[in-house]
């Protein structure tokens, strides 16, 4: 049995934040869940996927976040408790659905999890999704610990059902990826089927209907505010006169700092767990006893703006500050020492000196950036594109996935990237405004996610662009989740169909389509050259399963290679491929046999044919 299905209330488990969230949803009787994978939220879905195979939970990987939210919106409007999981930028994709779903509302509880990523550990931006609560008018809950996240899930479903509105549960990477002890609660039996009673004048959002629904939404925000006034997740610790308002993981840093600075008696802390809409009455009465107030929140001054507005209404004139050059930054994530230092300076108390030793005499250390795996087929494709474009001025928009790493030298494939699917649309723009050849890269999962509309656009508007689809039969970057092009039967998972990328591309009307096997270097270069020479839209589909996934499924068949005596030390292998299996010792190139997967690409690249299979 999956460990998160353990039905022994009171038992303690050491769980990742994302596991605690999944467990909380199970305890709350979640019956339906949908997602598009995205770090730092992916482990919630990975657990749901497993759980769905041994319980009544319905779970799906949808093609993108917008579809995931639409699927979820219907499930919740059939009365079933539903969760929809995505990373912060995923909400941008789903935003069109979100904004009007807030008007329509739900009948069964719907919790939308948005996992924000301050510092951008694995994201293209660090947007603060609390503003989506404000923009859509939906309530936001923010846990501070894994245990609290578990507990909050049931509460989130309750208020969603009370308000008949989706609820946003907002986490940050440090909560998703922190592990701590969690005490299991009882599991509520899920209700897996509901019904939908037709009521078009409340569900079909033509203007006349939406005008009424917006009125309803505004009333709901008021109701949400009164729930926030009573919420146990908005709590006040201490009764000193130095006010601190904080949320999420910042609360943990504040607690540690209060202890380290010895100011427990002096402070009073408002921890906002129900952070939108903020409970105005409670905030005002909190303020009334404060000499000055520090707002401790990562990201944007979301609570700061709200608290200042409330202070104005209450006639509170003492200092309220948060984001300020000498206090907190809107950039990156906080850490305990930084919060302690700012608190000490704001409240004028002594702070222990930083104990970092002077490291100024340290030499510059070689960096260790992540690199495409040894044997990754993306490397072979990028090499082939480099060869096929020699002497041709070009621009290479790239997209989001492992292959983004190809922008680093020595492969240097990737010139422009803004969001999922953008390689195709931006390629269209560059093709019209420069006289360079456009070669765009997109992964298989990203192609399904949001590459298809861009490709249709390219065909319709007749842009001159070559799209290389890196099809490795999985969503590799986020942990090898399936997507519509994956052969699920080959993974022994029944009940799925498979969508062929080639048929989609041909169906769109692309006139030049080539399928390549990237480990065959010569043929790949030739096919890419031909596609580049084609005027108009051409597509190259590079098919080779992800090496790391194959390794984990124990289906790697290649035998390792070694560098033989014929090596003349040209180092084309290292300098042009950059496979991490190479290393240099005593000024000679070697291959780490434990890393080599036997893809054989370097053997085709070496001009001396010096790279040969290891003899058994």
């Amino acid at each position: 049995m999956h460990k998160l299905l353990t039905d022994r209330p009171g038992e303690k488990m050491f769980l990742l934040g994302n596991e605690a969230i999944a467990r909380g949803a199970i305890e709350a009787g979640v019956a339906f869940a949908s997602t598009y994978p995205g770090t730092p939220s992916s482990e919630i879905s990975a657990n749901f996927f497993q759980i769905s195979r041994e319980s009544d939970l319905y779970f799906e990987y949808s093609t993108n976040e917008k579809v995931a939210l639409e699927v979820a919106a219907a499930a919740a409007n059939a009365g079933v408790r539903t969760m929809c999981i995505m990373k912060h930028v995923g909400v941008n994709v789903a935003a069109d659905a979100l904004m009007t779903l807030a008007y329509v509302g739900v009948r069964g509880g719907l919790v939308i999890l948005t996992a924000d990523d301050p510092y951008m550990f694995s994201s293209q931006n660090e947007q603060d999704n609390r503003y989506y609560g404000k923009l859509s008018g939906l309530p936001i809950l923010e846990p501070s610990t894994g245990e609290e996240a578990r507990e909050m899930m049931a509460y989130a479903f309750e208020i969603s059902e009370k308000l008949q509105e989706p609820v946003l549960l907002r986490t940050t990477t440090r909560l998703n990826h922190s592990t701590s002890q969690v005490t299991l609660g009882p599991i509520r039996q899920p209700v897996t089927m509901g019904d939908f009673a037709k009521d078009p004048f409340n569900y079909v959002t033509v203007p006349a209907v939406s005008r009424n629904l917006h009125v309803k939404l505004l009333k709901n925000i008021e109701k949400a505010q009164s729930l926030a006034e009573k919420s146990p997740y908005n709590r006040i610790d201490g009764n000193g006169s130095w006010g601190i308002v904080c949320n999420g993981v910042s609360y943990n840093y504040v607690k540690d700092a209060v202890r380290d600075l010895g100011i427990t008696e002096k402070v009073r802390i408002f921890r906002a767990g129900f952070s939108h809409p903020l409970p105005a009455d409670r905030v005002k009465s909190f303020l009334s006893g404060c000499e000055k107030v520090l707002i401790v929140e990562e990201g944007e001054p979301f609570m700061e703006e709200a608290v200042k507005a409330m202070a104005q209404e209450a006639g509170f004139i003492n200092l309220i500050a948060g984001k300020r050059p000498d206090l907190f930054s809107r950039l990156f994530e906080f850490d305990p020492a930084m919060v302690r230092r700012v608190m000490a300076s704001f409240f004028s108390v002594d702070c222990p000196e930083s104990r970092v030793s002077d490291l100024s005499d340290l030499p510059i250390l070689p960096q260790r950036p992540p690199n495409l795996c040894a044997g990754c087929s993306h490397r072979a494709v990028f090499y082939a594109v480099n060869k096929a474009t020699e002497g041709i001025a070009n621009i290479r928009p790239t997209d989001i996935g492992c292959y983004t790493l190809g922008f680093l030298p020595p492969l240097s494939n990737g010139d422009f990237l803004i969001c999922m699917g953008s390689s195709v649309g931006t390629g269209c723009g560059f093709s019209r405004t420069t006289d360079k050849k456009i070669i765009s890269f997109i992964g298989d999962s990203t192609f399904f996610h949001s590459g298809i509309p861009g490709l249709i656009n390219a065909v319709f508007n007749n842009h001159n662009i070559t799209l290389v689809i890196l099809d490795n039969h999985t969503t590799a970057m986020t942990g090898h989740q399936p997507h519509p092009g994956v052969d699920m039967a080959a993974l022994s998972i029944e009940g799925f169909n498979r969508v062929s990328i080639e048929s989609v591309v041909k169906g769109i009307g692309v006139d030049h389509v080539a399928v390549i096997r990237p480990y065959n270097v010569k043929k790949s270069i030739a096919a890419i050259k031909e596609a580049i020479d084609f005027k108009g839209v051409s597509v190259v589909i590079a098919q080779q399963s992800c090496t790391l996934f194959d390794k984990s499924l124990k289906r790697l068949t290649g035998k390792p290679f070694r560098v033989g005596d014929r090596c003349k030390n040209h180092r084309n292998c290292i300098n042009e491929l950059g496979c991490p299996a190479f290393y240099v010792e005593d000024d000679r190139v070697h291959i780490n046999e434990a890393l080599c997967t036997g893809c054989g690409v370097c053997a085709q690249v070496c001009p001396e044919h010096a790279i040969v299979p290891v003899k058994n």
């Binding site: 050491f14 540690d256 850490d335 490291l359 260790r368 950036p369 300098n575």
Partner: protein, 196 residues
């Protein structure tokens, strides 16, 4: 209760996430509050993987610069790189088996030799303990048991509030049964290596 802050740095694929899981489970067995956080987004793509573990009554799950009580390096260059987490009272334990990053292979930077690494670390911390974790893992019967060797070194050095028995139990529970014997042997070798 005293708070002990431990940073573990490794290269993706070295198994440090499993090691920290074992320590977490061991702490739970002894009813010692424990929190940890890790950045493992691109762990399997050969990047640096860092875990922070905090034993005792703290709320934070991360460790600020200069605030680690113990630094465990699975790889000497990464131990050196993490020196910003240390202070004059930090105990550093590191494996001496280098895994040069790819950048060094393509001539972007030079991998410092072990003597230089030690010379940088030693004067800035309370003590530096080194062991050849790879050799001990091989001796235990599996080069992949480096993580267990290094767990052993933490316990042998007595730098964590965890008992030998609790960690051994956690190893048995957390790692694959087929490897339990080798893992425990690796753990013992690591423990003995720093005790001696």
């Amino acid at each position: 209760m005293n708070i002990t802050r431990l940073i573990i740095v490794a290269v993706g694929g070295q198994g440090n996430l499993l090691a920290s899981k074992v320590l977490g489970e061991a702490a739970c067995r002894q009813d010692i509050p424990v929190r940890m956080s890790e950045i493992h987004g691109m762990a399997q793509r050969g990047g640096v993987v860092e875990s922070a573990m905090i034993f005792g009554d703290a709320h934070s799950t991360i460790i600020s610069d200069g605030e680690a009580d113990v630094l465990l390096g699975f790889e000497p260059l990464e131990a050196l790189r993490a020196l910003n987490k240390c202070n004059a009272d930090t105990i550093v334990i590191t494996s001496t088996s280098p895994l040069p990053p790819f950048t060094a292979a393509i001539g972007k930077g030079v991998y410092p030799d072990m003597a230089a690494i030690e010379a940088y670390i030693r004067p800035r911390v309370k003590s530096l303990i080194t062991l050849d974790a790879n050799a001990l893992a091989v001796e235990a019967g599996n080069v992949l048991s480096v993580n267990m060797v290094l767990l052993g070194s933490l316990i042998g050095a007595g730098v964590l509030p965890l008992s030998d028995a609790a960690v051994r139990e956690a190893i048995k529970d957390t790692t694959k049964a087929a490897f339990a014997e080798i893992n425990l042997k690796a753990f013992d070798l690591g423990r003995a290596a720093v005790k001696g």
